[in-house]
């Protein structure tokens, strides 16, 4: 019989793979070079505004025949998506973003001057503050004012028929079961009016931290007074404020236009600018954010893009969107037929607002300011000294999070890298078996089967890992990173010069992370084991139903669960405290203390995590032979002895890998920590990943520093899993 030559399967695979690559390439190049006259617009709007923008795009397309693609990008990812997409020449032609980001976009080179599209920039067409913030120090315009964002007072005219003339008057209007005022009392953004009223500013000149001194102290003392006297609900978030207003449990709220657009029809309300605060020297001006229409450098010269931008910013288009947002054009506001009453009030409020600083340091103030506000709100006593101590601590945080001037000569790093590569090569060469290469050649066909998976893993796993590791040797904001050598690591491992186990230090966070992991995994295993044992009882009826129900927590996206739990642990309105009150116990301020906040996080994560262990153990239980258990019965084992001496030891081989896996997941369980406690109180419940996140996204965008955290996390996990494997190998 003639030996049949095996068909080389990899040829077919190679063909298929190349076709796939070609297809991907085509699609990618398609993104890169948009069809000649297609225009891409990015924005981060939701709800009514998103609809309005989409309609504008459609209308323009219908009228001019130019293809317009309007893309709503999620707000949280907006800035980073923009800068990476534009850097790769794949971003939008036109986009809308807040003026605070203008300077950093400019520095990154993501913008074209507005004059490119607006040769005769008509400054009077737009609100004057808005026009000012769109310009740089030399008066060159980098964007066109598009919309104004700010908060105002929204009053329920039934509960409060007479509009308050001052904050004091508003506060006095007490009604049973109704809060006179509700606002996000722990948000720095909504707190800002009080700070401004007492003469302060969040960011001082030269990027100095502004939330200190007399003005800050008086503003937080005032806010604390509102909450402690029951005028304002405690620790409400945006959703709760809206809900209180809609359910007529708050007579007035401080909020933006979004709330109004979602009120039911015929709801009795009126919007007014924040009334004066008589106790303070200045007006309580909220922050103003000006949304600008921005052009990217690549496309600014395309006439159709310019034409589209001009049309979007025109009075005609502004009239179409004035129902959904406070447009920055002046002209529509003169036309009463198109402007809704509420919008006019928001416009009025916006005109009195204070534009937010465009400095990059501004973004790093939110976290410490909010910590200070929360600290004061929850302090047992708040005399001046106590408040000052809290403010001083928040300032220290701001200062210590500032990027450090670390720079190192890359020479040493390059030498180390070269040496490392050389040593690795030598080690690999020496460890290779004598017939290594002939072995590789002989099984070339087999390698063909895994080459695609290898490429995928390399591109999706190894490359990002290496990129992250490389980034950890750099410092500074993304567009101007400088080589820092081991500077980030030294900084982290020396706790930035502070006490080793001080708040926010790497070691303290590590300790919390380890405690968090142990607590969770222990509970996952205990609960999973208990339920699995119950479910595996032969006499249990309707087993399938229970099993399905118990897997549900696993099937729900974790962030949904996390948000639900956050709500349940709310001090005033959460279900947990409601139950505590019902049974006569004191309600607990869950997120004010480390232990309770930690417990809330653990409760959430246990809910999310036990089904996995349960499923693993249910599977492992089927591997425990029934006759072995019967033999134990006959040998005289009680049910507990049978479990502890037979079932449990037999489960271990499958339980240990599951525990290692669960530990790794829990160690990095960002969702729960970030969404439930959010690190409260004072970042004490943050774990390493959420801490890394803060360095990257809330503290001066120190990506290198965050990357160093990530590398350390990776190292810790790698080491632990190695040790656990060795331990397991030894024990069997």
């Amino acid at each position: 019989m003639k030996a049949q030559k095996p068909r080389a399967p990899w040829k077919a695979w190679f063909l298929a793979f190349s076709l796939l690559l070609a297809a991907v390439g085509l699609v990618a190049s398609d993104c890169k070079a948009p069809a000649a006259n297609r225009i891409v617009l990015w924005h981060a709007y939701r709800g009514a505004e998103e609809e309005a923008i989409a309609q504008l795009g459609a209308r323009y397309q219908a009228e001019t025949g130019t293809a317009v693609e309007v893309l709503a990008v999620p707000f949280l990812a907006y800035a980073s998506k923009l800068s990476s997409a534009i850097a790769r020449d794949q971003g939008p032609d036109v986009f809308i973003d807040a003026h605070e980001r203008l300077s950093s976009y400019r520095e990154e080179g993501l913008l074209a001057r507005a004059e490119a599209a607006f040769p005769k920039y008509d400054i009077d067409r737009y609100d004057s503050i808005a026009s000012t913030v769109a310009r740089d120090e030399d008066g060159a315009a980098w964007g066109v004012p598009f919309a104004l964002k700010g908060v105002a007072l929204i009053v329920n005219t039934e509960l409060m028929p007479e509009l308050p003339a001052s904050v004091e008057q508003l506060v006095k209007a007490r009604n049973d079961g109704v809060f006179p005022l509700a606002y996000e009392s722990e948000s720095a953004y909504v707190h800002a009016p009080w700070l401004h009223a007492f003469g302060g500013a969040m960011l001082g000149p030269n990027d100095a931290y502004g939330f200190t001194g007399e003005s800050a102290r008086r503003s937080v003392a005032f806010a604390r007074g509102l909450v402690s006297s029951g005028v304002v609900p405690n620790g409400a978030d945006g959703a709760l404020v809206k809900q209180l207003f809609e359910s007529r449990k708050a007579a007035a709220i401080i909020a933006g236009p979004g709330v109004v657009s979602e009120l039911p029809p015929h709801f009795p309300y009126q919007v007014v600018p924040l009334p004066p605060l008589r106790a303070a020297p200045s007006r309580p001006d909220p922050f103003l954010t000006v949304e600008l229409l921005l052009l990217t450098p690549r496309t600014a010269s395309r006439p159709e893009v310019s034409a589209f931008a001009r049309w979007l910013a025109s009075d005609e288009a502004a009239k179409l969107r004035v129902r959904a947002q406070v447009v920055a054009n002046n002209q529509p506001w003169h036309d009463d037929t198109v402007v809704p009453v509420a919008m006019r009030a928001f416009h009025e409020a916006a005109l009195r607002s204070r534009p937010m600083s465009t400095r990059a340091a501004m973004r790093a103030t939110w976290e410490p300011v909010e910590q200070a506000i929360r600290g004061v709100m929850r302090a047992a006593a708040a005399d001046d000294a106590a408040i000052d101590a809290i403010l001083a601590e928040s300032r220290r945080r701001f200062e210590s999070a500032r990027p450090r001037a670390v720079s190192a000569s890359p020479t040493r790093g390059l030498v180390a890298l070269g040496l490392g590569l050389l040593l690795t090569a030598i080690a690999l060469y020496r460890r290779a078996k004598p017939r290594f290469w002939s072995g590789v050649r002989a099984s070339a066909g087999a390698y063909a089967y895994v080459v695609y998976a290898t490429i995928a893993v390399f591109v999706l796993v190894v490359l990002p890992l290496v990129a992250g590791a490389v980034m950890s040797f750099f410092a500074g904001p993304r567009h101007q990173m400088t080589y820092a050598g081991l500077g980030n690591y030294v900084d982290i491992l020396t706790a930035r010069g502070g006490p080793l186990f001080g708040y926010g230090s790497f070691y303290r966070t590590l300790l919390v992370t380890v405690a968090w992991t142990i607590a969770n995994v222990a509970l996952h295993v205990t609960i999973g084991l208990g339920l699995a044992l119950l479910l595996s009882r032969p006499l249990l009826r309707a087993k399938g139903v229970y099993r399905t129900l118990l897997i549900v927590p696993w099937a729900v996206p974790s962030y949904v669960t996390a948000l639900a739990y956050k709500g349940m642990f709310h001090q005033q309105f959460g279900a947990v405290n409601a139950i505590l009150r019902k049974v006569g116990a004191e309600p607990v301020a869950w997120f004010s203390h480390f232990s309770t906040a930690f417990a809330a996080n653990v409760a959430t994560n246990v809910w999310l995590g036990f089904p996995f262990m349960m499923v693993v153990i249910l599977g492992a239980l089927t591997n425990v032979p029934k006759d072995v258990l019967e033999a134990a019965d006959i040998d005289g084992a009680t049910p507990w002895q049978r479990f502890s001496r037979i079932t449990f030891p037999l489960l271990l081989p499958q339980l240990v890998p599951a525990v290692v896996l669960g530990a790794v997941w829990t160690f990095n369980m960002f969702n729960v920590v970030f969404l439930v406690s959010g690190g409260e109180p004072d970042n004490q419940t943050d774990i390493l990943v959420s801490e890394a996140y803060r360095w990257a996204f809330t503290r001066h965008a120190q990506y290198g520093y965050a990357a160093a955290y990530a590398v350390l996390i990776f190292g810790i996990l790698w080491l632990t899993s190695r040790l656990s494997r060795r331990w397991q190998a030894e024990s069997t």
């Binding site: 032979p625 072995v628 033999a631 134990a632 006959i634 005289g636 001496r645």
Partner: protein, 372 residues
């Protein structure tokens, strides 16, 4: 405790035991009585309920009705650990994560036996079973036969009143099975417990049992000494179940004649053994074991002629298969001396030792001499 004190203990008794899984009845009204120190073997076809009966006695399955008594106590409601029994499973059911030593000691540890006693009993059992070299191994590092020994050792160290075995030898090869079989009986005699042993292997059943209990479809078909069942089966089923090769069947007719009672088979007359006493003239099923048929000789006159179709020469004896001419087409097996060279197509003169003839009612299939 010595075997002699053991013998004082009253027996184990199963009274009117029935067991059903959901709708299927597996055991119906089984009653058994086991004397202390006796060796009772349960045999029967696959699926007849042997294991179920054994497991019910062990307490692993609750009976549907009926009761189980041990040492004069009703233990029906007791859990296995309170019944003072040990069981050897067909799969051995060793604890996979424990060494041989710990497998043996497990039951003793649970009962908080003093350590010195544990060591003594484990070493005694391991010496008895030749496990000394294996004590530190895990079950998966043992051969099938070694595992089987460990399983027996685990039962022995506990020194229970009663040993239960569920086909303990079925996973061993034939030679080893024969060896262990002898050993089990020896151990039983030495330990002095009461043993209930399940098997479907009739050689095991015959050689081991003091009392043999043949189950059929969940009911006791016949119980008694092994040879009693072999020689005096109460039914065609029992006669067929025991004996290898199987018993031969011929159709006959009881006839009265001047010389007395005889059975007419295909024109020949066969003497009815005396123990049947008076029989009416009736058709009968005649059972003849292969070794009760033989080649005709001076001692045994020719009764029929066999047309040989097949011949099994085992060396120490030879079984010849064929039909008897003029006596129907049932296949008959005859044992002949190995010195006979017989091949297919031969004819063989056959004689019968009539005193061993078994007679059955062809309709009820009960033995004609069975007590009613």
């Amino acid at each position: 405790m010595t075997p002699s004190t053991r013998r004082e203990v009253p027996c184990c008794e199963v009274r009117d035991l029935s067991k059903a899984f959901d709708q299927t009845t597996v055991l119906s009204n089984v009653s058994l009585s086991m004397k202390s120190g006796s060796f009772t073997v349960l045999v029967g076809a696959s699926g007849c309920g042997k294991s179920t009966l054994l497991r019910t006695v062990a307490g692993l399955e609750p009976p549907t009705s009926g009761s189980i008594w041990m040492g004069g106590r009703d233990v029906t409601a007791l859990s296995p650990k309170d019944r003072d029994i040990a069981m050897v499973f067909q799969s051995y059911a060793l604890y996979p994560h424990l060494s041989v030593r710990e497998n043996l000691a497990f039951g003793l540890r649970l009962r908080r036996t003093p350590e010195a006693e544990i060591v003594a009993r484990v070493s005694e059992a391991s010496a008895m079973l030749g496990l000394d070299a294996l004590l530190d191994r895990l079950p998966r590092q043992l051969s099938g036969g070694q595992r089987q020994r460990v399983a027996m050792g685990r039962a022995i160290v506990r020194r229970p009143h009663m040993f239960l075995f569920d086909e303990p030898l079925s996973n061993l090869d034939a030679a080893l099975r024969a060896e262990v079989r002898v050993e089990i009986r020896r151990l039983h005699d030495r330990m002095g417990g009461t043993t209930l042993y399940v098997t479907h292997d009739q050689v095991e059943a015959m050689t081991l049992a003091d009392t043999l209990c043949l189950l059929r479809g969940g009911a006791v078909e016949q119980m008694g000494a092994p040879l009693a069942l072999f020689d005096r089966p109460v039914s065609r089923f029992v006669a067929e179940f025991l004996g290898s090769p199987k018993i031969n069947w011929l159709d006959g007719q009881v006839k009265h004649s001047s010389s007395g009672l005889h059975i007419a088979i295909g024109g020949k007359a066969l003497k009815v053994p005396d123990r049947y006493g008076q029989l009416a003239e009736q058709p009968v099923l005649v059972g003849l074991r292969p070794h009760h048929l033989t080649t005709a000789s001076d001692d045994v006159p020719q009764f029929a002629t066999m047309n040989v179709t097949f011949c099994e020469a085992l060396g120490f004896e030879t079984y010849v298969h064929g039909t008897l001419s003029g006596m129907g087409d049932r296949t008959v097996v005859v044992r002949v001396e190995p010195s006979h060279r017989v091949t297919r197509g031969d004819t063989l003169p056959i004689g019968i030792r009539p005193e061993h003839t078994l007679l059955f009612d062809p309709r009820s299939e009960r033995a004609l001499d069975a007590p009613t």
